[in-house]
């Protein structure tokens, strides 16, 4: 029956992450942004919350409690703290979840136990390509079968943590269909290029990666001969990003709300004015609405149903929502919104990225 209440485990989990975001992330996120690095201890503490081990199957050493809805709740709470830190803490998901969803039994047995270790394995994924008309369903990077090997060629960008990765899950087009391949980072022909200079998420290092005739064993194709259901992976990615956008938007809304109640002009808090109060009412409503759209998509995925229309509709809407909410938060702060001493300008820069972040997170 229709219900929008968290269960006990979900409440405990979101409270734990909320405390981490509030007491740890919010203390250092600005320095991390300015310095372009997240402190190791913060990452470790994030990993120790234990999301992935909980989601991994029991025979791989996990608790077998994978749930997209719960994952969405986690992403929202993390991203309330800071988006770049979230993407970095959750980076192991980029391989673990596609493997869980689409891997062969042999691949799962080989890889998934690594995600239940004390420290996460050094793995990342490469989906995005440096082109204005980038479409995840129509990749320019190609994979050609050659005997027992695949030959990969193309250019990838926004590859998180590529500099320290042992393995990169590279998405490439095989006969026009998007497939995924486990590529050792030291493969001949694979070059980790320059670190991307982005508008936001400065503390998440992402890189350009080029592949020129990189040969890998055919067994490294995710899902084996049949390959992957790419829509499924992309839909899970969109839930993660949608939930993160909701977390970011909520942060912006709450900050602007609290500011508007404290900032006194003409003898009373600016929140006493409808022009400000109505903006806040819209922000609160739009955040709630976006969250419900994210949950619905997540729930449908948990039911094992195709959610491609839902995920697309939700993601395009949430991308717009997070920009509007962040922009209004900045507007309410006035000049302070534009100053880097305050968080709102950072949220606006990060919010803009969601339309380009496909594949940077997955749940």
């Amino acid at each position: 029956m229709l219900d929008f209440r968290l269960n006990e485990e979900q409440k405990m989990l979101t409270e734990t992450i909320s405390r981490y975001a509030r007491e740890r992330v919010r203390k250092v996120y600005r320095d991390a942004e300015e310095e372009g690095e997240v402190p190791e201890a913060l990452l470790r503490a994030g990993w120790e919350i234990g999301l992935l081990p909980t989601a991994m199957p029991e025979d791989c050493g996990g608790f077998g409690e994978y749930s997209t809805v719960t994952g969405a709740l986690a992403f929202e709470e993390f991203a309330w703290g800071d988006l770049a830190v979230t993407l970095k803490v959750m980076a192991p998901n980029l391989v673990a979840i596609p493997m869980l969803l689409c891997g062969t039994e042999e691949q799962k047995a080989a890889y998934l136990p690594q995600f239940c270790e004390v420290a996460p394995p050094r793995m990342t994924a490469a989906l995005t390509e440096p082109a204005i008309q980038f479409s995840p369903y129509k990749l320019k990077t190609t994979a050609m079968r050659d005997g027992d090997s695949y030959i990969l060629t193309g250019t990838k960008t926004f590859v998180p943590l590529a500099n320290e990765a042992d393995t990169i899950l590279v998405y490439a087009a095989e006969d026009g269909e998007t497939q995924a391949f486990l590529v050792p980072a030291d493969s001949e022909g694979l070059t980790i290029g320059v670190r991307n200079k982005l508008m936001g998420i400065h503390s998440l290092p992402t890189y350009l990666v080029t592949l020129s005739d990189v040969a890998i064993p055919a067994v490294n194709k995710l899902g084996g001969q049949d390959g992957i259901d790419f829509s499924l992976i992309l839909n899970h990615s969109r839930v993660a990003l949608g939930a993160a956008a909701v977390g970011l938007a909520r942060a912006g809304f709450e900050y602007a709300r609290d500011y508007a109640k404290e900032r006194v002009q003409f003898g009373e808090p600016i929140a006493h004015r409808q022009s400000i109060a109505f903006m806040l009412a819209d922000m609160a409503t739009e955040v709630d609405e976006a969250r419900l759209l994210v949950w619905e998509t997540a729930w449908k995925l948990d039911q094992g149903k195709d959610a491609t229309p839902e995920a697309t509709i939700m993601k395009q809407h949430v991308d717009r929502m997070v920009m509007q909410v962040a922009d209004r938060a900045l507007q309410i702060l006035g000049g302070y919104g534009y100053i880097r001493e305050y968080p709102v300008e950072l949220w606006l820069r990060n919010a803009r990225g969601f339309a380009a972040f496909d594949g940077l997170a997955i749940v």
Partner: protein, 423 residues
């Protein structure tokens, strides 16, 4: 536990309601729009048996209770698990409004009057006033709150109720406007209208109480039947009260509330809105879905089918519009379902009820306007229903609290402000 599952029996009910919408509503939509004040006979005849059953099952626990010994009839029946009837009702409204929002409002049912009796009345009053909706000829319920000088600010109402101690009757005087189903409830059937009036003008909203006026009460006249932009099948009237006398027992609430000096009556009106706002939102959503489905069907006939795997660059402007229509339709519907689920689980939903109401009104207004736009000259033509839905839709930005009033309620709630702090 987060779930979007609609129980199967409710889904089955909806299949039936959809049949009603397709057979008894859609074929008459245009005719009833062109001939304002004509009644939707087919719809009324087809739905009256259903609505009688609905009211009957809602009253059943109350009637069992008042028959039982030792009960004072005041305690609420203990409920186990969620109350499915609320969800079923909201989904029915959505489906009927998909059929035709104007006709839906003519549902022979206590409607808003019933909601007021339910939230402000005692169990005894609920049985006494609503029982007639389970028998005989079709009947309607209405609620009269708005006045020429009191719209959103309903505490400014001037309609008075004075107790005549000689006869122990309330004497009502004043004028009420924009009453949905006023004529159907009071002149064309033996229904009822809940009238909000002040027993003490100086006391402002604290002096306001609600009174049940039954069909054919002397002193009550239909002063005017309105001509409207849309929902023309719906009966909207002004009522004039000229020394209309009603029994003392017809003031809603327990003995405490009934006392002239009690100050709790207005809360009843506001509580009614917690239930009625999701209902209005559901009606808005029904129109939105009608427009959206129709637009997608017609676009498909013209060879435009949405491919959800296309990237932003590959989508045409029309396709992007359709996707945005779908998002706003679905988002508003989910907000409505959330407010409904809260009621079903016995939780407070004042904030969420206002959120879904204003968001749904906003969404349906935009979606239906978009629909007319995307359908080009055919959208503007009265041959199709798109232009009618656009006119019907706009009422949802207005009644049961304008968009702005609901924004104000949301704003106060999230800011923790009183009426004084945020005017």
């Amino acid at each position: 536990m987060i779930s979007f599952e609609i129980p199967e029996f409710i889904q089955n009910q909806m299949t039936m309601i959809r049949m009603v919408a397709e057979q008894a509503m859609r074929p008459y939509s245009r005719q009833l729009d062109e001939n304002e004040h004509e009644r939707p006979q087919a719809f009324v005849q087809m739905t009256w048996p259903f609505t009688q059953q609905m009211v009957k099952s809602a009253l059943k626990p109350l009637m069992a209770q008042s028959n039982g010994n030792g009960s004072n009839g005041k305690t609420k029946p203990q409920r186990e698990g969620p109350d499915y009837s609320m969800l079923s009702f909201i989904m029915m409204i959505e489906q009927l409004s998909w059929g035709d929002a104007g006709q839906y409002l003519c549902l022979p049912h206590p409607m808003l009057g019933g909601a007021a009796v339910d939230s402000a009345g005692t169990p005894e009053q609920r049985v006494r006033f609503l029982k007639k909706f389970t028998e005989g000829d079709p009947k309607w319920g209405a609620m009269a709150i708005t006045e020429p000088g009191a719209g959103s600010d309903n505490s400014a109402m001037r309609t008075t109720a004075i107790l005549d101690p000689e006869t122990n009757e309330w004497v009502l005087n004043g004028e009420k406007i924009f009453i949905t189903n006023g004529a159907l409830a009071l002149r064309e059937s033996d229904g009822l209208c809940v009238v909000w009036a002040t027993v003490d003008q100086k006391a402002g909203r604290a002096g306001i109480k609600s009174f049940v006026v039954e069909g054919n009460t002397p002193g009550v006249t239909i002063a005017k039947q309105e001509h409207k932009l849309g929902i023309r099948a719906s009966d909207t009237v002004a009522l004039h009260f000229d020394n209309a006398r009603i029994p003392y027992e017809n003031v809603l609430g327990d003995q405490e509330v009934r006392r002239v000096e009690s100050r709790t009556g207005f809360q009843g009106a506001m509580k009614t809105f917690d239930a009625s706002r999701p209902a209005v939102a559901a009606s808005a959503i029904g129109i939105a879905r009608a427009a959206l489905e129709f637009t997608k069907d017609k676009l498909a006939e013209a060879g435009i089918v949405i491919d959800y795997t296309k990237s932003l660059h590959e989508l045409t402007a029309v396709e992007r519009d359709v996707i945005e229509m779908e998002a706003r339709y679905k988002g508003a519907w989910l907000l409505t379902l959330r407010a409904t689920a809260q009621m079903a689980h016995g939780e407070s939903n004042r904030l969420e009820a206002s959120m879904c109401k204003y968001r749904a009104g906003d969404a349906v207004t935009w979606i239906t306007q978009k629909s007319v736009e995307l359908l080009g000259p055919m959208g503007y033509s009265r041959e199709w229903l798109a232009e009618k839905w656009m006119r019907d839709a706009k009422i949802n930005d207005i009644y049961e609290g304008t968009k702005q009033i609901n924004q104000l309620i949301v704003a106060r709630s999230i800011l923790g402000y009183s009426r004084r702090e945020l005017k």
